[in-house]
């Protein structure tokens, strides 16, 4: 190991580590069976040093996983200390408290040996095709109903798969072949990291990763602390209300800026719920720190050092730190709001660097049924909401935020399962008015084609609480979940029959700044393009706009 790591060497090595993580993530996407992974990219890959501290992560990553995977790695090491690992081992868990908050996410780690010496680990997480239990919704009262829970265990020992664990999994999931395919994909991606790290160490003549890790993490940490010091010290409160399961749910945040660190305290938030909307602490932590990083050091590659200046507290037995055996299947309907809470608090000190509230969480629909030939099917539909208006720009319509799943193409859905997607379009007047308009939501309509009835489970929020505007901007539109035109439980399971049509209207985002100060050219464009109706242009922006020509007349 060169004793001094200079700026150019460090840059070279650091970018190599990031690209190793990227390669593993791409392999995972290309070999996975779960549409949630292969089309929607619900995954992450993180590289760790010997102590389980994160070094680099894949560009293709979901924010929640980038925060939870490092915590999972610590749990793995607590269960199996470094000295117990052998080449060819694979350790895994899907426990919501040790993993990433709900059961379908399988987390694995593989050790990286350089010669006979353990030098680090690769951690991977992906949402597998099925995990048994109730289809994901918020209706479970306890975790037992939500599927198979795998404690931290050795799936593979020195290259040999544990037949007992494999049998156990196969016996508990609906599509065992595909789930095993997903596990194979995870392991294959992990093996790629092992090979590449060894090549990397040889090339740079490193004997271990410790000094490099210290340097990388130290620099990220320093950058973060420097940015924190530029914030005015003090405590900033923000609260918001979500739909909850059967009653509104309060999220209360106190954000303390303390010299060079930030403490988030969610005391005062709603208690643990007897439904699946609980967000385990790891998930709460993850979205909280994601929000801070996106505002403070968006340009710095993520690693352990980024998180060190942050403390996240949530009272035990609250909805943001539920205890076993709480149900957590719909954790995203609560957890995604934490980004909003953090931005809300930061808006009081850096209003020019945060978004208006986003049309988030985005509704997730799972349809499970039987084809006419008797084979079962299951399809997850992510229905993206929108991104809030920015201090200098409109929000983005129909996009995942704060999570980062991609859409499954309509043609791929229809070719795979007996559903017809009737429409998928931007909703007019859904983006909150403002000097900069909030992103618009979308309307998605799906028809069931099978003779047999199907179960539609939904995880959605913001049906009663729209995304609010910032700095004088107005709120976006609410979520609506309709079956044949009638509202259904946005966090429940509903039976659908042949020809039934499900409509999902995803939430629009809040606007930024006073709508009356919006550039009139932009108002005209929005009207001509059908994003804003002439009526709304008059009501919200005070302009009479011709729908066809965009000509503006005085009101």
């Amino acid at each position: 190991m060169k004793t001094v790591i200079d700026s150019s060497n460090l840059e070279v090595m650091w970018s190599r580590l990031n690209s190793i993580a990227d390669e593993a993530a791409i392999t995972l996407v290309r070999t996975s069976f779960s549409t949630v992974v292969r089309e929607s990219k619900d995954l992450s890959c993180v590289l760790f040093d010997l102590q389980g501290r994160s070094l680099a992560q894949s560009t293709m990553s979901i924010p929640s996983f980038t925060g939870t995977l490092p915590l999972t790695m610590r749990h793995f090491l607590r269960r199996y200390p470094a000295k117990d690992w052998r080449p060819g081992d694979v350790v895994m868990t899907n426990d919501p408290w040790l993993g990433s908050g709900h059961l379908p996410d399988v987390n694995i780690a593989v050790p990286v040996f350089y010669g006979r010496k353990l030098v680090g680990f690769a951690g991977l997480v992906a949402h597998v095709t099925d995990i048994g239990g109730k289809t994901l919704s918020a209706t479970a009262a306890e975790i037992y109903e939500e599927g198979l829970r795998l404690p931290i265990s050795r799936l593979v020992r020195e290259g040999k798969w544990s037949e007992d664990i494999v049998d156990l999994i196969r016996a508990n999931v609906r599509v065992p072949e595909e789930v095993m395919g997903d596990l194979n994909a995870l392991v294959a991606a992990g093996e790629i990291v092992q090979r590449r790290i060894v090549e990397f160490m040889k090339e740079f003549e490193l004997k271990d990763l410790t000094a490099l890790a210290d340097e990388i993490q130290g620099r990220a940490e320093t950058a973060m602390r420097k940015r924190i010091r530029m914030l005015p010290r003090g405590t900033y409160h923000h609260s918001l209300v979500t739909d909850g399961f059967d009653e509104p749910l309060k999220i209360q945040l106190a954000l303390h800026v303390l010299n060079d660190r930030i403490e988030l305290d969610y005391a005062g938030s709603a208690p643990q719920q007897r439904s699946g909307i609980n967000s385990p602490w790891c998930y709460t932590f993850s979205y909280s720190v994601f929000a801070l990083k996106s505002v403070l050091t968006p340009e710095v590659p993520n690693n352990e050092g980024t998180f060190r200046p942050f403390t996240v507290k949530a009272p035990e037995r609250s909805v943001l730190n539920p205890l076993f055996p709480a149900a957590t299947g719909a954790r995203s309907t609560t957890g995604h709001f934490l980004v909003t809470a953090v931005y809300g608090a930061l808006a009081q000190i850096v209003p020019d660097r945060v978004l208006a509230e986003c049309g988030a969480p985005r509704p997730i629909v799972v349809v499970r049924g039987m084809r006419d030939d008797g084979r079962p099917f299951s399809q997850t539909l992510f229905c993206m909401g929108s991104m809030g208006a920015r201090p200098n720009d409109d929000g983005i319509s129909c996009i995942a935020y704060p999570t980062n799943t991609a859409v499954t193409p309509v043609e791929v859905v229809e070719a795979g399962v007996p559903l017809r997607i009737i429409r998928k379009e931007i909703i007019r007047d859904s983006g909150g008015p403002g000097k900069f308009r909030g992103g618009c939501g979308q309307r998605q309509e799906v028809e069931l084609l099978t003779e047999a009835s199907a179960m539609i489970s939904v995880r959605a929020d913001r049906t009663r609480n729209p995304a609010r505007g910032a700095a004088g901007g107005a709120p976006g539109s609410c979520t609506k979940i309709l079956l044949n035109g009638k509202e259904i439980n946005p966090k429940g399971i509903t039976v659908a029959h042949k020809g039934d049509r499900l409509q999902v209207l995803t939430p629009g985002s809040g606007g930024y700044g006073d709508p009356l100060t919006r550039d009139s050219g932009k108002i005209a464009d929005d009207v001509v393009n059908g994003l804003v109706s002439p009526e709304a242009a008059l009501r919200d922006y005070g302009k009479v706009v011709d729908e066809f020509t965009g000509a503006i007349n005085a009101a």
Partner: protein
């Protein structure tokens, strides 16, 4: 053979700065090169003038030229500069927003100022028709001609003639899209229609609509350009054929290019890749990495068995420079290349964490690197090269420009060495290391994603800055041999002379392997071959090679693996499965178990070598001594300046051997031979360098 029957071809490549021309003289077999400033307003001007000058110099009449092969950047420039047509888009009811909402994900997780590429058709001009076809091609809801007619007339009222049509599942049944065309014809031939079922007949609606819209968007520009070129050539008495290079590295008939200009977006880089493929063949190298580095970017592409490796999708006009996911997807066969913001003009800077970064921002040609003395004060890669002794300040571009070493040092000191508290030489070395890793890192990922190990490759270095940096890139990739071909400066134009005529055809055909009837599969390919034959017949070619490929995956996966289809015979389907499994293992290291396999797409390529041109001729012995002096250059392995012999490339003789450290110069570029390397000149004048690794 009488003199009049001896025919020749001209290759023409339009670049950002220069239009390059190459021909092999019909009698002397010498390679004749022309370079003329590109005329951006009307690129055909420079092309025609260049041909006039080239032929005049060669004393060859245009009547003796039977083929002009041409690569153009017009398609990609039209997209980048947003100067395409006003396009109308027709979609299935409920789906006009597919073009705008894209993949619904963010290419940068943390960027709150994220921008997506704006849709090339504004929402007001994206119109819907009531119709529905399902994924098996069955009509669920018929299309009403009257509605189509009304819509087309509306577009006409809006002054829109260029129309893209992308209906759901049109890859499975193009009937409704074709109906729209026939209605347009009935109205009168005033529209230029681009149908997704012809441009990109593949499943996945967003890439398909994006490709179709790009096609419509650039079409009028391309049509008028090719027309001007054809008229100009005809007016000069040209009676041969004009061929246009496609992104996939095969030339197209001009009429095909006018109908599907989206196939031309990577025309220029494809020509470069073909040149690399030519050298791979000439020197009998199985696997080659072509590395082309210019002033603003570096490109790399893989050549296997003397053919550029093809991909099926790429992105144009990335809005965040070089960020994957920030451009317009184009789903068409393409010579797979990576391009990153790493060129001679790339600027070095220090980021938030005190790390040394290079690019992607560049200094361009004005003000350019600090050493140009044109007012640039930020340090670039060229400045570092100069400080390290790799470039001769008095022999840049063959001496046309004098470089200022002191300005280069001052810029590096001010922006890099000072803040990092290191010496100027150390900082320059750092810039070189970082830019090399940027290129090597991108090339490594590119190779690995396609299941190749770059260590077994030879690197072929092109471009003004390619030969200077080739060694450091090769070293980082573990590549042990570098080839510096002759005429590297006009490689793309030369590539045109050796390009095949080719056309690529695809059909989405989703079937589990176990349920396929051999006859059915065969008939899909027969249909595709018929299409291919038609397109080659237009080029008056009747003999051709055919390549059959299948895109396959395990049932339940979402991404395909491309497999060369074994020829039909005993246990055909079993052999297809075996070919898939072997490719899958090569790419991903392990099979997921005994799961069912399915076919998604059938691909067929027909190609025909219209010309057999010898680009390289025997190098003659020269009397002049090649060794022209000595200068100091810095090498990081030994961490000091050492004295290097400097050679003039044009004076090297066949089989000459040069040991590093040494420098070989020619007008367009400089080759650096580090200590422990050996270079050999082959009988054509190509230089082959190898080096010993280790301490």
């Amino acid at each position: 053979m009488s003199a009049s029957t001896i025919k020749t071809s001209v290759g023409i490549d339009i670049g950002g700065t220069f239009t390059d021309l190459v021909m092999v003289h019909p009698r002397t077999h010498e390679r004749i090169i022309g370079k003329i400033l590109t005329t951006p307003d009307d690129p055909s001007k420079a092309v025609l003038q260049g041909i006039d000058e080239l032929l005049e110099r060669a004393v060859v009449p245009l009547g003796s030229v039977d083929l002009v092969a041409h690569a153009t950047t017009l398609a990609t420039n039209t997209i980048i500069t947003s100067t395409g047509a006003r396009v109308g888009l027709i979609t299935t009811e409920g789906f006009r927003d597919t073009l705008e909402i894209q993949t619904e994900s963010r290419y940068d997780l943390y960027d709150l100022e994220l921008q997506l590429p704006p849709p090339l058709v504004p929402r007001a001009f994206r119109r819907e028709v009531v119709e529905r076809i399902d994924h098996r091609g069955e009509v669920i809801n018929p299309l009403d001609e009257i509605e189509v007619r009304r819509l087309l007339l509306w577009f006409e009222e809006q002054g829109i003639q260029d129309i893209a049509v992308c209906l759901l599942h049109s890859y499975a049944n193009p009937g409704h899209e074709q109906l729209i065309r026939s209605v347009a014809k009935k109205i009168g031939n005033r529209f230029r229609l681009s149908l997704s079922s012809e441009i990109c007949p593949e499943i996945r609606e967003y890439p398909r609509v994006s490709t179709t819209v790009i096609n419509a968007y650039i079409r009028p520009q391309i049509i008028s350009y090719i027309n001007r070129l054809e008229d100009g050539l005809k007016g000069r008495g040209f009676g041969g054929s004009l061929f246009i290079m496609s992104s996939a590295g095969g030339v197209l008939h001009p009429e095909v290019a006018k109908d599907s200009p989206s196939a031309l977006v990577e025309s220029g880089p494809a020509a470069g890749a073909l040149a690399a493929a030519y050298f791979a063949k000439l020197m009998k190298r199985k696997q080659v990495l072509a590395f082309d580095m210019g002033g603003t970017t570096a490109k790399a592409c893989l050549i296997e068995d003397a053919q550029p490796v093809l991909g099926q999708e790429f992105e144009a006009a990335r809005i965040k420079r070089f960020a994957r996911g920030s451009g317009y997807p184009i789903r068409m066969p393409v010579v797979e290349l990576i391009e990153i913001g790493a060129g001679g003009g790339s600027i070095a800077w220090i980021d938030t964490m005190g790390l040394l970064k290079v690019g992607p921002e560049g200094a361009g040609s004005s003000p350019g690197p600090a050493c140009y003395g044109l007012g640039g004060d930020r340090p670039t890669v060229t400045d570092a090269d100069l400080v390290l002794g790799y470039l001769d300040p008095n022999y840049f571009l063959g001496g046309k420009m004098v470089l200022d070493v002191r300005r280069a040092e001052a810029a590096i000191k001010k922006h890099i060495a000072g803040p990092l508290k290191i010496s100027v030489i150390e900082a320059a070395r750092g810039i070189l290391e970082v830019v090399s890793e940027n290129m090597a890192g991108a090339a490594r990922i590119h190779a690995i994603e396609r299941g190749f190990d770059p260590r077994g490759f030879s690197l072929v270095a092109f471009g003004g800055a390619g030969p200077v940096h080739a060694f450091w890139v090769a070293k980082r990739l573990g590549i042990k041999e570098i080839i510096y071909p002759v005429g590297a400066g006009v490689a793309s134009a030369a590539g045109l002379l050796v390009s095949p005529a080719a056309s690529h055809h695809v059909r989405t055909f989703i079937r589990p392997l176990e349920k396929i009837k051999e006859k059915e599969l065969e008939s899909v390919f027969r249909e595709l071959e018929k299409e291919g034959r038609v397109s080659l017949n237009r080029l008056k070619l009747t003999r051709y090679d055919v390549e059959h490929r299948l895109e396959m995956r395990y049932v339940g996966q979402g991404h395909e693996v491309e497999v060369k289809m074994p020829a039909r015979g005993e246990r055909w389907l079993d052999r297809i499965r075996a070919a898939f499994e072997s490719e899958y293992t090569r790419l991903f290291g392990r099979l997921p178990g005994q799961l069912p396999v399915e076919i998604i797409n059938c691909r067929l390529a027909v190609s025909s070598y219209a010309q057999d041109v010898k680009l390289c001729t025997q190098l003659k012995r020269v009397k002049t001594r090649a060794l022209k002096g000595k200068r100091l250059a810095y090498f990081s392995d030994i961490r000091r300046m050492v004295s290097c012999n400097v050679y003039e490339r044009d004076c090297l003789s066949p089989e000459e051997i040069i040991k590093g450290p040494a420098i070989i110069e020619e007008a367009e570029c400089t080759i650096i031979l580090p200590p422990r390397s050996t270079a050999r000149v082959d009988r054509y004048g190509n230089i082959i360098m190898s080096y010993a690794r280790g301490k």
